[in-house]
């Protein structure tokens, strides 16, 4: 077992709760995805895991180490990397510099650093010809790729991806997911949140469903795909809609 989340509760304003008693596991070498309607609290969970938000209570363990009280940069040392939902490349630095900064933790180990750099760059060949261009000159999809590559430079035990398809054209979404699949084939542990449910299903081994801040269930791809349509209709509240609405 890699990442364990136990009874995590997060609130923004006093009694406004965003997450309630969320518990889930991310297994080593697998891709675990979290799906749910908008506003369910998916991004809040990601921010809490990466240390940008403080939980009210609950625990986060990575390979048995409790991460709750650590600031984001310390969590990276323990092997947790996150790709934020928003654009987060350093726009005025080159692609190469962006990648190098991802390797801050291993910067003193010259060989490890070089090896990681070439591994990462081989995974993302599109970035190779752009290494000395400013990150701001990349397209949206390429920036997303750079963000993922940069996080891999930290040599994470678990990679968190927060809405990797957000703001990308359908073509770019496919490209990004092709890369995620490649990472999966390399047995990199990934925890993924995305509103693009189809793509989540295409890549995940196990999925959790989050609704209104609570985990409403989970299952393997097989178990969930049969009921997927119902799930979404449920989010749109079709069953009871006729009774309550229309007034």
């Amino acid at each position: 077992m890699s990442l364990q989340v136990r009874n995590l509760t997060v609130e923004y304003h006093r009694d406004i709760e965003i997450l309630r008693n969320v518990s889930l596991n991310v297994e080593k070498g697998l891709v675990t995805a979290l799906i749910g309607p908008n506003g369910a609290g998916k991004s809040t969970l990601m921010k809490t895991l990466s240390g940008l938000l403080k939980p009210k209570h609950g625990d986060i363990y990575l390979d048995g180490v409790r991460l709750n009280d650590l600031p984001p940069d310390e969590r990276v040392k323990h092997g947790l990397a996150v790709v934020l939902q928003r654009r987060s490349v350093f726009p005025q630095l080159t692609v190469r510099e962006n990648l190098q900064l991802g390797g801050w933790r291993i910067r003193r180990d010259q060989r490890l650093f070089e090896d990681t750099f070439s591994e990462v760059i081989n995974l993302f060949p599109d970035l190779k010809p752009r290494l000395d261009d400013k990150a701001s000159s990349l397209s949206g999809g390429q920036q997303r790729m750079l963000e993922i590559a940069r996080s891999l430079m930290t040599r994470p035990k678990v990679l968190l991806l927060d809405e990797p398809s957000a703001g990308l054209s359908p073509l770019m979404v496919k490209l990004v997911y092709r890369h995620i699949k490649e990472l999966k084939d390399l047995s990199i542990t990934i925890f993924l949140v995305d509103q693009n449910i189809q793509q989540c299903f295409s890549v995940a081994d196990y999925l959790y469903v989050l609704e209104l801040g609570e985990v409403k269930g989970g299952g393997s791809k097989m178990e969930l795909s049969a009921s997927l349509s119902d799930l979404i209709r449920g989010w749109l509240y079709l069953e009871q809609g006729g009774k309550v609405g229309g007034g």
Binding site: P71, D73, A81, S88, F90, L93, Q100, L101, R107
Partner: protein
């Protein structure tokens, strides 16, 4: 004496450029802190004057060469910067104007302490070549100004190389662009911010040492240098060393020609007028920041 116009303008322009180089160095510390910590340090001028006094006392008490004294003053500035950052900058409430009011208090403390320690008498560092000049064609080049200019440009160049070529320098730039994203890569943001604060006080201290070579100074001169730094920043934009050099030169030129035409008493008015016009021209911020509307 009547000079031919060309000579006068040649001399004036050269003087302006030499002064402008120093203004760039005076500014860079303020730019660094703002870029990396988003704090406008109102007490920046006091760090410059503190550097001037430290160099002055090292040279007069230990009898060492003034330029060596500026180097010896570096650890003193660094120590002060560390203490100030530790006690005043970290942990101040993030209310709407707490950092600026707090640094205003720091301005008062430093100014008053320096007045108590060193009185209000004007001081200056006299070197063997203070009165010396070299002639280049019709233009007279005071050696001391040449040295100050050369030191300023050298330090700015070294800083530029540090920020663009070293790992730590890149991390500093990364934090100034997106500190949250830097933290998610494992870069220790707070440590590096502390380092940057100390670096900027050291740069202010060095520029103060150079100021002491050129001008007589008093504890109350800090705000003047602060405002000059603001003018340069307004011209240059933050996080851009070539821009800061250009901004310093423009200020030097504006001041020199302004005081030539309007009288030396109005020298500073030119700088203030430049700043106010720039502020009004870019009401949403001097430093090119885009207005983000958070609703």
């Amino acid at each position: 004496m009547i000079f031919p116009l060309e000579v006068l303008f040649g001399q004036l322009l050269v003087g302006a450029i030499l002064l402008g180089g120093l203004y760039s160095l005076v500014t860079i510390g303020l730019a660094l802190i703002f870029g990396v910590m988003r704090i406008l340090n109102i007490a920046h001028g006091e760090f410059i004057i503190f550097g001037a006094y430290t160099a002055y006392w090292i040279t007069s008490l230990m009898g060492v060469d003034p330029l060596l004294a500026i180097v010896l003053a570096i650890p003193v500035s660094a120590f002060l910067g560390y203490i100030v950052n530790r006690l005043l900058i970290r942990g101040v409430t993030k209310s709407f104007d707490a950092p600026i009011v707090s640094s205003f208090g720091l301005l008062l403390i430093m100014q008053a302490s320096m007045l108590i320690a060193w009185t209000g008498d004007p001081r200056s560092i006299v070197t063997p070549f203070t009165a010396e000049s070299i002639h280049v064609g019709p233009v007279l080049l005071p050696i001391i100004r040449l040295i100050a200019f050369a030191v300023s440009i050298t330090i700015l160049t070294l800083l530029y190389i540090f920020l663009s070529k070293t790992y730590l320098g890149r991390a500093i730039r990364a934090i100034s662009q997106d500190s949250e994203s830097a933290a998610t890569l494992g870069i220790p943001v707070q440590k590096i911010q502390t380092f940057t604060f100390v670096l900027s006080t050291v740069l202010a201290g060095i520029s103060g040492g150079l100021v002491a070579l050129l001008l007589s100074f008093q504890p109350t001169f800090g705000p003047e240098f602060l405002l000059k730094s603001f003018v340069v920043l307004a011209l240059a934009g933050v996080g851009n060393i070539p821009g800061v050099i250009a901004g310093g030169l423009i200020l030097g030129i504006g001041e020199s020609y302004g005081s030539f035409f309007l009288g030396s008493g109005l020298r500073n008015v030119v700088a203030y007028a430049m700043l106010i016009i720039l502020l009004l021209a870019r009401p949403r911020g001097l430093f090119g920041g885009r207005a983000v509307r958070e609703v």
